[in-house]
């Protein structure tokens, strides 16, 4: 069993390394300006992003992701709780939610520019926030609906005021599901950032990608793609760590009841 475990761990490390080595060998063999060597890309990555252009292009992108995501969380939870609690609100709002969440985001890129008269932060944040909203909103609604009605009725019969009921009962009970929606939205935020900056912008990681493509600077282009991959991965990992800390009570409780 331990040998099997050792084999698993070594495979887990060996396969990615083998892929990277194959990439390097392949690009050396190809010797094409379109496909620069992996080592060249990595050097370019360090020169561009660590940290000479970091403030100029990475910070604006992160800022847009951060504000858009935060807006989506606030609006999604604030709307999701009343919608989840009331049947009528659900009947009224579901047709709209179903329509907008099925809308392919790039179809609204030109509209966001026309409507907001901006290709700057205002438009980017609104675009990111709008499409990050739906996973959070839908998960909040589901989370609130899944609460045992006896709990709510008990709180009500003890005359717990409405805002206290929401703060102490509804919100904590729906928190794990809200977190699941937020996790989907984090990955979505990176995608929306790239889409909106790639369409029209004056700064940001997507802008660098666009400009280097248009000017046939292939090594910076690869470095930008690599950075977007790393950003997506790191944000996801960061979120998982934060979630594990904030919802520690929930996991602990589940482990205790399972035992």
């Amino acid at each position: 069993m331990t040998r099997r475990r050792a084999l698993k761990i070594s495979l887990e490390i060996a396969v990615p390394v083998a892929i990277l080595v194959a990439w390097q060998l392949w690009t050396v063999h190809l010797d094409s300006s379109k496909f620069p060597r992996l080592s060249t890309i990595l050097v370019e990555f360090r020169d561009m992003w660590l940290f000479s252009q970091f403030n100029e292009h990475v910070v604006p992108s992160l800022e847009r992701i951060g504000i858009g995501f935060a807006l989506a969380v606030v609006v999604g939870v604030a709307l999701g709780i009343p919608i989840g609690l009331s049947r009528w609100a659900r009947l009224w709002s579901m047709p709209h939610i179903e329509f907008w969440r099925a809308m392919p985001p790039p179809a609204l890129l030109p509209i966001s520019i026309v409507l907001l008269h901006s290709i700057g932060n205002k438009q980017k944040v609104a675009f990111i926030g709008f499409f990050c909203l739906f996973p959070i909103l839908l998960n909040t609604i589901d989370g609130v609906r899944a609460i045992d009605p006896t709990l709510i009725e008990t709180a009500r019969s003890y005359n717990v005021p409405r805002h206290e009921r929401i703060r102490r009962l509804v919100l904590p009970a729906a928190a794990p599901q809200i977190a699941a929606g937020m996790r989907t939205s984090v990955s979505l935020a990176v995608i929306m950032m790239v889409l909106s900056e790639f369409f029209s912008s004056t700064s940001g990681v997507g802008y660098v990608l666009l400009i280097s493509k248009n000017t046939f600077q292939f090594t910076p282009m690869w470095a930008a793609i690599l950075l977007i991959g790393v950003l997506g991965y790191l944000l996801n990992v960061l979120f998982l760590i934060a979630e594990r800390r904030l919802l520690a009570w929930h996991r602990g409780w589940r482990a205790a009841t399972a035992a």
């Binding site: 084999l7 698993k8 761990i9 495979l11 887990e12 060996a14 396969v15 990615p16 892929i19 379109k34 009528w88 009947l91 009224w92 709002s93 047709p95 709209h96 179903e98 329509f99 907008w100 969440r101 099925a102 809308m103 392919p104 985001p105 790039p106 179809a107 609204l108 890129l109 030109p110 509209i111 520019i113 026309v114 409507l115 008269h117 009725e153 009500r156 019969s157 990955s187 990176v190 995608i191 790239v194 889409l195 790639f198 369409f199 997507g206 990608l209 666009l210 280097s212 493509k213 292939f218 282009m221 930008a224 793609i225 977007i228 991959g229 997506g232 991965y233 996801n236």
Partner: protein, 275 residues
């Protein structure tokens, strides 16, 4: 609601049900009608100027006249083709790979890191690469749609295969079923719920990426029409095309939700809801 009502919820529900059946469609229609009216009013009163937000009636008129043209329907068909090809190829690749990675712990751990790294990469970041390699044509569009749709399906299939009841597998083994028969009779049917859910998620992603390819690379379809209308400053047409794309997205979403429900009729999670 008074506290006393809690004691007799079932009786109340039974009586209310007929009433609700009538009220529900009414609220549905009212809600959509009032949103459309709101849109009309916001634009007509100049709260948002008509050049920024054409009125609802103007936009639907534009959509209607677009729908009289063959050009619109060809583009529509192009988008649907890119979507369908992307989703199909993704399914053909992801389901077998998922079964393989789901049933072998060694294979799963070997590819864990590459998958974890590739999965969150926004597919839009690959567009510049496609310019260089496949060019601005259907191949690029299908590649992009396939790439996006592949990951949710792969992960869902892996989960589904891992969730197969080991007792069922062992039982089949002790009855002398070979590996292929076990795959066909046990592993596949019990992972179908996960795979169908993956298909639903991927169907949306594939449409987004087909449209993205058209918008950014100019491959034929609704996305390319949208980009052209935007470049020429035809705002009303941009809005009309967004509506058309939204309806296509909604149709796909509803179709695959229905498919999911149908495929899962036998599954306990659905039985509870139906009861």
């Amino acid at each position: 609601m008074a506290v006393g009502e809690v004691a007799t919820p079932r009786l109340v529900v039974a009586g209310e049900r007929r009433q609700i059946r009538l009220v529900e469609p009414l609220v549905f229609v009212l809600s959509i009608a009032s949103a459309l009216a709101f849109w009309e009013v916001v634009s007509r009163t100049g709260l948002i100027s008509a050049t920024d937000l054409p009125a609802m009636s103007t936009t639907f008129n534009e959509l209607w006249s677009l729908m009289q043209t063959g050009h619109f329907w060809w583009s529509f068909a192009d988008t649907v083709r890119g979507w369908a090809l992307g989703l199909t190829i993704a399914a053909l690749l992801a389901v077998p790979t998922g079964i393989l990675l789901g049933s072998s712990e060694l294979a799963a751990s070997a590819f864990r890191i590459p998958i974890e790294f590739l999965r969150p990469i926004p597919s839009a970041a690959l567009i510049p690469l496609l310019f260089l390699t496949l060019g601005t044509n259907l191949k690029s569009e299908v590649f992009l749609a396939t790439f996006g749709a592949f990951w949710p399906l792969l992960v869902q299939t892996m989960y589904g295969v891992r969730d197969v009841d080991p007792v069922a597998i062992e039982t089949a083994r002790s009855f002398g079923l070979g590996p292929f028969e076990r795959l066909y009779r046990i592993t596949l049917p019990s992972s179908v719920p996960y795979i169908v859910t993956g298909l639903r998620i991927s169907s949306g992603v594939a449409l987004i990426l087909a449209f993205t390819a058209e918008l950014f690379m100019g491959t034929k379809g609704l996305g390319q029409l949208t980009n052209a209308a935007y470049s020429f400053g035809l705002e009303t047409e941009v809005y009309a095309l967004a509506l058309a794309t939204g309806f296509l997205g909604l149709a796909i979403h509803l179709l695959f939700t229905a498919l999911e429900r149908r495929a899962l009729r036998w599954h306990p999670s659905q039985r509870l809801e139906a009861a």
